[in-house]
Every structure is written in C-alpha cells, then in structure tokens.
C-alpha cells in the first residue's frame, strides 16, 4: 500500500490568489493540489497525497496559534505517514509558515515532516529542528526541488537512515554524518585552496561555530519605569533543585517565581552549579542573583519593577547550542511579559 502524505501550501500555490487572498483561513482539500503533482510524479505510486491544506500566509502570520491548532487537528484526524509543507522558495511569510507548521506537526504528532525553501528565507532559521531542502530563490526551482524532496520524503517514510545533508538534499542541521566523497580529502583541499586564492566560491566542509555578534541594544535613559528581567548562568535554583538542573552540561533551564521574596535566602534557594565552590552562593544566593539590592532599588524607584520570574541555568560545560536554545526560549517569555531590560549574571 502506498504511503499517505498530507501537503501544506499557501493561497498562491493553490491558485486561490496572490496577496489579496493571503487572509484566507486554512481549508482542507481532498488529494493533491498544485505543486503536490510534482511529488506524486516522482513517487511513482509509492506514496500519495491524501489531503492538501491550503492556508493564507497573512492568516498564518496573524493567527499563528489558531492556524497551528486547526492544521494539527486535521493531520491528527487523517493520520498520514508524513507531512510536507511547501516548498516556499524565497517567499518569507510562506517559508515562516511552512517551517513553523512543520515543526508543530512534528512536535505534536511525532510524524516525519519536510519542507523546502531558499537558504536565506527566514523560515530556514529552523533548519536545526526540522528537515528543510534548500531550493532556488524562485518557483522556477520546483523542477529541481521536487525530486529531491520526494526522494527524501520516501526515505523518511520508510524509516531509512539518512545520509549526510549534501547527499540527501537537506540543509545542514548540526548533526554530522559521515559519507564518502568522490575525491580524496587532499584533492578537495587543493581545489578549495585554488578557489580561495582566485576569489571563487568555495564551501567549507566544517563550518566553524557561530561567532555572530548582536548590535548593542539602545540606551535606556530612564530606568525608573522599566520592567527589569533577570537571568543567570550561575545555577541559582529553588532549594532542593526541583527542576533537576544538572551541575554541568545542563539540558534545560529553570524558571523561578520571586513574587514576595525581598531577598533570596539560604533556606529557600541554592546553586546547582558544579563548576565552582558552592559554599558562598548557598550561604547567600544574592551573591549570584542580587534580588536583595534590586528589591531595594525597586522601592527607591531606581527601576520600575522586577519581572516576576528569573531564569537560571548552569554555564558549566553546557553546550553552546543548548544555552542558545534556552536563552531563545526565555527571551521570548520576557518579551511577552513586557521586559524592557535584562541583567544576566555569570560566575
């Protein structure tokens, strides 16, 4: 029996209309629509698109929660072997929708997902979380993208082990996979060197970790009205470490309510950090997370008020990728809670 696939596309690829129709809510259709045809051709009967979900890009952007709920509910009901979104090429909002809806389906339902888009599409930021096939920057790239995505999708549905990103046609996702090149390493290196000398394009086989810098945030002339957020890599946690933050190589972070605390006490708080002598922080946790003086400043009107929660993890040996993920998560929480400035303490 053929594998069953649900395909997600936007209003434009469903031939509903362009920008003027981008507001339409998700609708469920039977069988394939538009670009789904190219996948089915490539599958030669091994897989079929049982349903297509069409959703306007503006609708998704403006009603992301509703859109996700609706799509997940349908996919759950249909119970397919796989969920494919796009490809979105260089369409930014479509790419964002494809990546985020695919991630939602993967997280909620645990079925394989795949999307495709141009490497600079903002949706490609999620390439470490879901498989994304790199495509050209316009829909003219469908001819090339469809067979790659179709092949990769079949492999996923069959549960086969994936090869390296460059072999299978997905964007590098931070998981290193060995494979055999046609030429030996020294020859590849000499070719790369010649390209580099001549100012021609070359692609490193081993990208260095991200060294990106962020522009300094704007100065805040008046702190007296500001909601101040707090975070630490010093591992301050509620007494007893209820979230089980690891002493090193932490796999998660903790969120702690400081409502009603005028200072952190040794009875209520401690450090989970394994990389330094914990005696001093356990004796007086304000030495790492200075709630006592901040409450005082709150009273004095030096700051507006403290955000109700602080966020804590252990910097000790924690993978760069994990700490980035933690911070991305709680930065969103702070943003939603109206935090305007943040103090981060580290040991």
């Amino acid at each position: 029996m053929a594998f069953r696939v649900v395909h997600y596309i936007n209003q434009f690829f469903a031939n509903v209309g362009g920008e003027e129709m981008a507001h339409i809510a998700p609708e469920l259709r039977e069988g394939k629509v538009g670009p789904g045809m190219a996948f089915e051709t490539a599958w030669k009967g091994e897989a079929v698109i049982v349903n297509t979900i069409v959703c306007g890009d503006s609708y998704f952007a403006e009603h992301e929660k509703d859109a996700k709920e609706q799509v997940v509910a349908w996919v759950k009901e249909i119970n397919p072997d796989m969920f494919i979104a796009g490809p979105a090429f260089n369409a930014g909002r479509y790419g964002y929708a494809c990546a985020n809806i695919a991630l939602e389906v993967k997280t909620q339902l645990g079925i394989p997902v795949l999307t495709g888009m141009y490497e600079e599409n903002p949706g490609a930021d999620l390439k470490d979380k879901i498989l994304i096939t790199p495509t050209a920057n316009s829909a003219a790239g469908m001819r090339k993208a469809a067979p790659t995505m179709a092949k990769l999708a079949l492999k996923l549905m069959k549960g086969e082990v994936l090869g390296a990103s460059c072999e299978e046609g997905y964007m590098p996702n931070g998981i290193r996979v060995n494979f055999f090149e046609k030429e030996r390493g020294a020859k590849r290196a000499v070719k790369m060197l010649i390209n580099k000398i001549n100012g021609k394009a070359f692609t490193t086989e081993f990208p260095m970790p991200n060294f990106d810098r962020v522009e300094p945030g704007k100065a805040i002339p008046d702190m007296s009205k500001v909601v101040l957020g707090l975070a630490t890599s010093g591992g301050i946690v509620s007494k007893g470490n209820p979230d089980h933050i690891e002493a090193s190589s932490a796999s998660h972070y903790g969120e702690y309510d400081i409502e009603g605390w005028d200072a952190l006490t040794a009875e209520g708080w401690e450090t989970a950090h394994g990389g330094y002598d914990p005696v001093y922080a356990n004796e007086n946790p304000n030495r790492v997370m200075p709630i006592d003086v901040l409450r005082q400043m709150e009273k004095e009107g030096k700051i507006g008020k403290l955000h109700r929660y602080f966020y804590s993890t252990v910097g000790n040996g924690t993978a760069v990728a994990s700490s980035r993920k933690f911070a991305e998560e709680y930065a969103q929480k702070m943003l939603k809670a109206g935090v305007q400035a943040c103090i981060m303490t580290s040991t």
Partner: protein, 140 residues
C-alpha cells in the same frame, strides 16, 4: 629541562608526584578525577594564573585515561582570554565523551599514568626515561 621557577604541576597522577616532585612544585590531588583537574585549573586560569600546557595533551581520550597533569604559573598575571577559552573548550570536549564503563586492571592504570607522565615530561623537556629509574612501571 624547563626551569622550575614560577611553575607548578596540578595533577592526580601518582607517577608524576613520585618522579617530578624532587624537581618541580607538584600539587598532587590523589582523589581528583580527570575532570576535577580540568575544573581546578580552569578556575585558576579564570582567576589570573598563567596556563603553561595545553589541557588536552595527548590523543588518549578523556573517557579512557583517568590521569591529567597540567602546568600552571605560580604568579597572578591577569586573566588571559585565550587560556580561558582553552580551558572552557577542554571541559566541553571532555564532556563530549561518554563514560565507557571499563574497569581497568592495575597494568592498564599504570600505562595511563605513564602516558600522562611522558606527555608532561615532553612539555617540560624533562628526561622521562631517566626519571623512571625511581618509579615502579610496567615491563613485559
């Protein structure tokens, strides 16, 4: 041989303690793990002591050998960014290797001591073989 002034050896390797303490200041932490030594030295380097040898010396992986010896300066010279990075990366690298669950025989343990000792001697330009005359090491 590198001069013993202003350097100290942080180690958990008894062979290093036996042989080199006549020549160098050896801080021997018998019960420390490989990782403990890295953490100790990292904190020293963070606090401004000079790191003299690379913390990941040797190709024996951190989840194989239990011994680590690192040379650190005795004077506070201020925090050195590159050395801080070396120590951070060493810990990250160390944590990457999963425990193997191997119980080593005394023979193997002595081999690990020997390797760590010879790597350190290589760094200090100390005659490793001459030094072994006062130690009890494996032979066939």
């Amino acid at each position: 041989m590198k001069l013993p002034h202003r350097i100290r050896i942080i180690t958990n390797n008894p062979l290093v303690n036996t042989v080199l303490s006549d020549w160098y200041k050896v801080e021997f932490h018998e019960d420390a793990s490989y990782r403990d030594i890295l953490v100790m030295v990292r904190d020293m380097v963070y606090n401004g002591y000079e790191l003299m040898t690379h913390p990941m010396a040797g190709s024996v992986k951190p989840n194989e050998t239990m011994y680590k010896s690192i040379v650190v300066g005795t004077d506070l010279i201020g925090t050195n960014l590159e050395h801080c990075n070396l120590m951070m990366n060493a810990l990250i690298t160390c944590d990457k290797f999963k425990p193997l669950g191997v119980v080593y025989s005394d023979y193997h343990i002595k081999d690990f001591q020997l390797i760590d000792y010879t790597l350190l001697c290589g760094a200090l330009d100390f005659d490793a073989i001459a030094g072994l005359s006062k130690a009890n090491v494996n032979s066939y």
